[in-house]
């Protein structure tokens, strides 16, 4: 609605280096505006230096580092275990998947194998985290679009339900610090599975409600379709991962590619978009949530009894052999990887987080050029960043 530009067909040849629109024939002076670090819709302390020609963006430079908390440096000065709670605070919406990625990398480094039940618990908590993340993202995206809190409130209502599950499992709402090398910290408390089943069952209803509220809303359609188009070849070259990549139509889901954990046992599909615009990114997330619900239903049905920790795992005095490992998972925001180098001491020699949020921002300027200021915030919203992970 309200829009005349047809969707740009993805160009076959991308330009690798970032480009800036020239102000050739345009009239009026340029206006340099800083959006952020304190700005209602930069999702934290992100800053974009935007050059505007009227309302059009002719240049956009992201500025990072306002939340650079030295996670990697701190981790290199402390033990492997002590970094686990710090990973919670990387992408603070999805602590479980962060835990998982780190645990997976350390398990690769030290040769540990979590038992089956632990793998199931990881999948359950991981997919719940995906639900939380995507729900919040959609809420925040609508907030950026100017909906007065209602979608965000509904999103957080559902989030609270899952946080309740996390709290009764791990003790904390957000910072679960739940996974351990070779397994999980505690077993599921009594009644947890039933509670989780109830939550998952009601989730489809919530998704229906949400779609009714928004998906067909003309304003949303008009605001998102054809905005922030990301062609697939640029997406691949710029290392975009996660829903954003799949919205551009590239079939790459690490759950399918690496089959880490026990993802090969579950039946689920990977939704792909054809346009790579904001609307596709929004819809891909909604569709992914429906797939997550499917995975959760299977996992909650099949979870076996048994131990939850690899008996070889040590809590104190954990010293992996000299070497290095890179482990990665399909986080809700994209590929979340940890690269670890061990020198045989209790502390990692090099500890590196591969932050999907940061790398997905590589193409922010390419997507925003020529769009309006109002589009910039929703394009940023559709990228789905969390500053804790962008700046670490």
């Amino acid at each position: 609605m309200f829009m005349e530009t047809a969707i740009d067909t993805p160009e076959s040849k991308y330009e690798i280096l970032p480009k800036t629109l020239s102000n050739g024939e345009m009239d009026g002076e340029l206006l340099e505006v800083a959006m952020g670090p304190q700005h209602p819709s930069t999702h934290g302390v992100f800053r974009m230096d935007v050059v505007l020609d009227g309302e059009k963006v002719v240049k956009l430079k992201p500025v990072f580092g306002y939340l650079h908390r030295n996670h990697e440096k701190i981790a290199e000065n402390t033990t492997y275990l002590a970094s686990m709670p710090y990973t919670d605070r990387l992408d603070y919406l999805c602590s479980m998947t962060n835990n998982w990625a780190y645990a997976l990398s350390v398990e690769k480094l030290a040769g540990l194998q979590p038992p089956e039940r632990a793998e199931y618990i990881r999948i359950i908590t991981g997919e719940l985290t995906r639900l939380v993340n995507h729900t919040c993202l959609v809420g925040f995206l609508l907030q950026d679009m100017g909906a007065l809190g209602t979608p965000l409130m509904y999103a957080f209502r559902e989030r609270e339900m899952i946080l309740d599950l996390f709290e009764s499992l791990s003790g904390s709402r957000m910072m679960c610090n739940y996974m351990r090398f070779g397994g999980c910290r505690v077993d599921l408390p009594a009644g947890w599975l039933e509670q989780a089943k109830r939550a998952v069952d009601s989730y489809s209803g919530f998704l229906d409600e949400f779609e009714k509220l928004l998906t067909e809303n003309e304003i949303l359609v008009a605001r998102t379709q054809g905005i922030g188009v990301l062609p697939p070849d640029l997406a691949v070259n710029a290392s975009i991962t996660g829903p954003m990549l799949r919205a551009s139509g590239v079939n790459y889901d690490i759950r399918k590619v690496d089959k880490y954990g026990i993802y090969d046992r579950f039946e689920f599909r990977v939704p792909l978009g054809d346009h790579g615009d904001v609307y596709d990114r929004y819809m891909i997330r909604l569709l992914e949530m429906r797939e997550s619900v499917k995975i959760l239903n299977q996992a909650l049905r099949d979870i076996p009894a048994g131990p939850i920790v690899d008996p070889k795992a040590k809590l104190r005095g954990f010293r992996p052999k000299v070497g290095e490992a890179y482990g990665r998972i399909e986080g809700p925001k994209g590929e979340l990887g940890f690269y670890l180098i061990s020198d045989g001491t209790p502390n990692p020699y090099r500890y590196r987080v591969r932050p999907p949020s940061l790398i997905n921002l590589t193409v922010l300027e390419d997507m925003c050029l020529g769009q309006d200021v109002a589009d910039v915030v929703i394009i940023l919203g559709s990228v789905d960043i969390v500053l804790g992970e962008v700046d670490r």
Binding site: K73, A110, N237, Y326, G337, T362, D391
Partner: protein
Amino acid sequence: MVMETLEQIKARIENAISGAKPEIIPNESPSAQRSLLLDPAHAVEVAKFLRDDSQLRLDYCSNVTGVDWLDLIIKEKVKVKKVVEGVEKEVEEPVERKRPGYLEAVYHLYSMALKHGPLIIRLRTENRADKNHVPSLTPVWRGAEFQEREIYDLYGIIFDGHPDLRRILMWEGFADHPMRKDYVEPDDYEYEPTPHDEVLEKTKQHHSPEPKP
């Protein structure tokens, strides 16, 4: 799809690009992720080969990171033939060898087209002080743009050919490269109510706040 072994890749690189001498870096840990060390002179060419080769098609540069290796004194025992009391014997003798430090950029490559990986390539600077240049691979993989900037910021590796090499996380005007192993932190947390001895010890080496002019 299974990727070729590192040896095969190495041989094909050597065939395709004359002068390139990739070196396989072993990895003893259970992960067994070995890597290829590229020489800076041919790195961009090799990278393009890796990206465009039809069997590899490593079109996706997942992770780029820096590593700081300090000067290291390696103590080894070397067997030396010596004449001891008139008899030639093989004697083990401790030898100290200084390995100069260097900075390293590590790239993890995957293929989205063929769904395989990782191939890990490494680039090394000559030393940690002045000869800290390596070629930038951003023109090959745009995804390396911010990560190389980050390495420049935190480790001080200068990537030649990077389109926009500025500090990314710290502010302009910051003097140090804080992720280096020998970085000295500013003196500002000795007031914590629960200071530990090592913390107090550490604060003594800190930069003191610079005197006001």
